[in-house]
Amino acid sequence: MIRKILLLLAFMLTTAAPVSAAGVLNIDIYGPGQSRVNLFVAEALAKDGAGPLGAIPGNAPAELQQRIHANCAFLPFFNMLTGKDIVGGPNPGGYVAQSIDFNKFQLSRNDVLVTAAWAPRPGGVGEVELRAYEVYTKRLIVGKGYGVASSQQIPEVAARFCADLMEALTGQGDFFRSNIAFVKKEGQRKQIYMATAQGLNLQKITNLDGIAVSPAWSHDGQKLAFVFLDKRYHNLGIWDRQTRTLQKKRLPGNTLIAPSFTKSGNVAISLDMRGNPDIYELNSELKVVRTLEENWGIDISPDFDRSGEKMVFVSNRLGNPHVFLKNLVTGETKRISLTGKYNTGPSISPDGTQVVFAQMVNGKHKLFLVDLPSGRERQLTFGPGSDEDPTWSPDGYFIAFASSRSGPSQIYLTTKHGDEPILIPTGPGEASSPAWGKL
């Protein structure tokens, strides 16, 4: 909606090709490790000949600067500089390469500099040009112009610019184009909410008399499935994002656990209709059409890669809960959590190469990651508290999870490299079971 209102000015600024192509500044977020670059978001300036910055209504320029800074702080490969880090003061002196005093930023070990230039706009907040420069080469990495009709659009402008900046540096900007559904506790009830990965645009999706658990997005981000426990029954809930309608349905058996979407858009879910929880696939009318995994024990928590070939799930067939991988083409199933005695909540990366799950270590859960090609397993998080329910971002770089590290459960963000977890603010109340979907 906002996207439509926002007038993206013709790319009057040169949109640079990804830096990786030029081979100058390139952050390989998928490699074995990653470099960190020092980023500084400069205070806004008035566009040449546009009159004083004070003509821009409200606090829009400062708010946009703060939003871009806050957004970029979510990215572990940025080390955020503040004004006091800049030798000789933070004012860039200009907003285009010719007039920027790059020397002092270089002296301050600043790698990427973001500038903003505002001009008033009749009937709106203003027009802003945002640029990111590589300080060492003075090269423009990203340059975009936006018309801002109201101050409510500031977060959207910041997110779109940051998506472009991240994409230019890493080849991938979906972090700012995705959202996270999660469970929020409200008294004795639990409801489903959603927000952007930065905790913005918080929306309440359900208002049910009971407990809503285990949200999961369809691969296209248009449908959300969850389980709802009322006073007597388990129900499957399907929320349609386009129509904002909620469908609630009882299924065969007494117990419904952890729905997930297949590549084709069908729901896979555990049902106990044959006496214990097994994993079934439902068709578009929510009728059981296929058994995906059946065993004497518990089989729950399916998750699928983008190709639709691989399914990870939890089973206690060997005595304790462990993570298994099923090749849906060959039907072959194998255990992939190699250590520990309690491994649950797996999420497979969209490209199907890595699986993250929670392992109980000394009574608390920690995230572990298995690299499927090599079979290597390593611990990603180290507490304190419990880290549970990991979910991959659509770009396969970030991992969101629920953690009690600072008290009641909240949603945190780390990466496949195990970067220091960052809190995603979701307001008051316990938050758990994040599910990452496309915007």
Binding site: Q188, K190, I211, V213, S214, V227, L229, K231, R232, Y233, H234, N254, T255, I257, A258, S270, D272, G275, N276, P277, I298, I300, S301, V314, N320, P321, Y342, T344, G345, A358, M360, G363, H365, E388, D389, S432, S433
Partner: protein, 179 residues
């Protein structure tokens, strides 16, 4: 809160099942007592027939059975759905009560402590409720009278993060109702 709600529902269902409402029963009890004392069972005395008195007596027995069945929970070890000897004894008593009150049906709730993860605990709660259900069927209870539900770790009986609280939360609860 939830327990009160369910209990209230049970009382309501029970009252509706009776010929009269709750208020009538309460107001007519002294008269009924007098009538029972008369003991001839020949018809209307003090506003209640012998059939009504008998229904009242049975309803009281049923109410006590519902209360007794709901009173004792059974408990499980960590990540286990095995019934202990003590649990089997408790279930045997419940089975006797159910047999003596064939109008009752039973909801078995499976619960877990907070240590596991939510989804696995929903499965474990199902295993606990089902193990309980299967033992009751083995004792001769008609399966159509039984329903199970897993609540996982969503409704702890006791708050707290210590073994004492966890032990009380790894449980099955019982909600009997007449219908």
């Amino acid at each position: 809160m939830k327990k009160l709600g369910v209990f209230g529902l049970i009382v309501l269902v029970f009252c509706l099942a009776m010929a009269g409402g709750c208020s009538k029963k309460v107001s007519s009890t002294p008269a009924g007592a007098t009538a029972a004392g008369a003991g001839d069972g020949s018809g209307a005395q003090g506003g209640l027939t012998a059939e009504q008195l008998e229904a009242q007596r049975l309803a009281e027995i049923q109410r006590q059975a519902i209360e007794k069945i709901g009173a004792d929970k059974i408990y499980f070890a960590f990540d286990s759905n095995e019934l202990t000897q003590e649990s089997r004894q408790v279930l045997t008593e419940k089975a006797e009560l159910l047999k003596a009150n064939p109008a009752l049906s039973l909801l078995v709730e499976g619960h877990c402590d907070e240590r596991g993860t939510n989804e696995y605990n929903l499965a474990l709660g199902e295993r606990r409720a089902r193990a309980t259900y299967e033992f009751l069927v083995l004792l001769g209870i008609d399966a159509s009278k039984l329903q199970i539900i897993s609540y996982g770790e969503e409704y702890p009986a006791v708050q707290g993060s210590n073994e004492e609280a966890w032990a009380k939360n790894r449980r099955a609860e019982f909600k009997a109702s007449a219908n």
